[in-house]
């Protein structure tokens, strides 16, 4: 009798896990709460640090999943998980031999940082908005004219105790750099300022991109967190920060303020953590068995993790974890039969 694995979440990690399982002759079902596969990457335009279109990563992956004949159940949201089953919101219970949780992360809701005026002033955007506008092919101000000055603010919803987000979301620094370069390419006359607390360029080619942004794209990096944004008389925004490197307050008006929003733990993590043995780390992400050899294992046998459900990760890391989780699932199932 063939074994069945349920994969919770059809983002890149989930799809890769399904494919890798298939490669080992194990069937799986992807349970995806939205109506399409791909997760948040569907809304992304280009990927750092190479400016590869997200579709070039997602397209082949989706096709492969389709070709492999993996069963995909969209519009199905998992409510509870257990090593042997997944309970859907609809009340249906799917039985399984193993469960891989790839439910990803949630984007931080920038409205919570009221002082930046997201949702209050028209010219405050999030990085997700920028990607959406890029996908729609039109980045422009509400009035339709080109921005003369753009400010990016790093760490919105990351490393911020005031909003209960102590962790670093890792990928936002490089996202901010990437988008700053994209904006500079779109609007060469525009001045782009990135306000940061620390710049954390952890990945291959990231530091190089950062330097390129500084040196070739003339993007200004100011170390200091914007404290507040307020509207100006001419419909722009005034922002205030401290230029901590010179120890002086700094203020300026901008046409666009882009909040580089972080990753917060998926809202479903709490529900999944009700499975005995499964638990969340203090930052709300699911805690793996250990951070080294067991990064894709939950403390419960039969429940596996892959991707950003355990911590902020980039696309490549999430996919690698998908493949690695599949390997560990196969070992687990093999040992049981």
């Amino acid at each position: 009798m063939s074994k069945k694995v349920i994969i919770v979440g059809g983002g890149v990690a989930g799809m890769q896990a399904a494919l890798s399982l298939k490669g080992q002759g194990i069937d799986s079902v992807i349970v995806e709460k939205s109506d399409r596969l791909g997760g948040k990457l569907c809304d992304w335009h280009k990927l750092f640090p190479t400016f590869t279109p997200a579709s070039e990563v997602l397209g082949p992956l989706k096709e492969a999943v389709e070709r492999a004949g993996v069963e995909v159940r969209t519009g199905a949201e998992a409510e509870r998980i257990a090593p042997d089953s997944v309970l859907l919101k609809s009340g249906e219970r799917l039985s399984a031999d193993a469960v891989v949780v790839c439910s990803g992360f949630d984007l931080f809701d920038a409205r919570i940082k009221e002082e930046y005026g997201y949702g209050i002033y028209d010219n405050v955007y999030t990085t997700a908005d920028i990607e959406r506008m890029m996908n729609e092919g039109a980045v422009a101000l509400p009035g339709g004219h080109a921005p003369r000055r753009i400010a990016f603010l790093h760490c919105v919803g990351s490393r911020d105790e005031k909003v209960g987000q102590r962790h670093c979301s890792r990928v936002c620094c490089i996202t901010g750099v990437k988008q700053a370069m994209e904006m500079k390419t779109l609007f060469p006359q525009c001045e782009v300022y990135n306000f940061y607390m620390d710049i954390r360029m952890f990945g291959p080619g990231y530091e190089e991109l950062y330097r390129q942004a500084q040196e070739e794209y003339n993007i200004h990096f100011v170390r200091g967190r914007i404290s507040e944004a307020s509207p100006t008389f001419d419909g722009r925004l005034q922002i205030k920060a401290e230029d901590t490197l010179v120890g002086r307050p700094l203020k300026m008006s901008v046409d666009m303020l882009v909040l580089i929003i972080g990753m917060r733990a998926g809202e479903s993590n709490g529900r999944f953590a009700q499975c005995p043995g499964v638990g969340c780390a203090s930052n709300g992400f699911l805690a793996p068995a250990d951070l080294f050899s067991g990064s894709v294992l939950s403390p419960v046998e039969g429940v596996f993790y892959a991707g950003t459900v355990t911590a902020p990760k980039n696309v490549g890391e999430s996919m690698s974890e998908g493949a690695y989780a599949a390997l560990r699932v196969a070992e687990y199932l093999g040992a049981r039969s």
Binding site: I199, R211, Q214, E215, E216, N218, I219, H220, F221, R223, K240, D243, L245, V246, G247, R248, P249, L250, K251, M252, S253
Partner: protein, 109 residues
């Protein structure tokens, strides 16, 4: 005549709307690598002049890039051009060239 006993303090904020950034842009155009400064401060740490006075190369050029030119020329005149900063700069910035450039561009401030 009222004796106030105080005067109105001028704002300390670097106001990028009011500052004239023309000279800063000119400097960056001639020395784009200056933008690559990550403010590690090793230049200031090793600075021969900085060990004898308050001179802080990193701070001065950062202020200049923000359009705060006042005093930059005088500050840069404290530099001895010995070149230690250039040897320690992890980003390979031509620091001595920056000193010369800022002095050349901001002589009138």
């Amino acid at each position: 005549m009222i004796q106030w006993g105080y005067t109105i303090n001028q704002p300390r904020a670097v106001n990028l709307d009011r500052n004239d950034l023309t000279a800063a842009r000119r400097i960056i155009r001639q020395m784009p690598e200056l933008q690559a400064c990550i403010a590690c401060g090793s230049c200031t740490a090793t600075c021969t002049a900085g060990n004898l006075t308050q001179f802080n190369f990193r701070k001065v050029h950062t202020l200049v890039r923000r359009g705060e030119y006042e005093g930059a020329y005088e500050e840069m005149n404290k530099c001895m051009l010995c070149g230690k900063c250039r040897l320690v700069c992890p980003r390979g910035i031509n620091t001595r060239g920056v000193v010369m450039l800022i002095k050349r561009e901001l002589g009138e401030y």
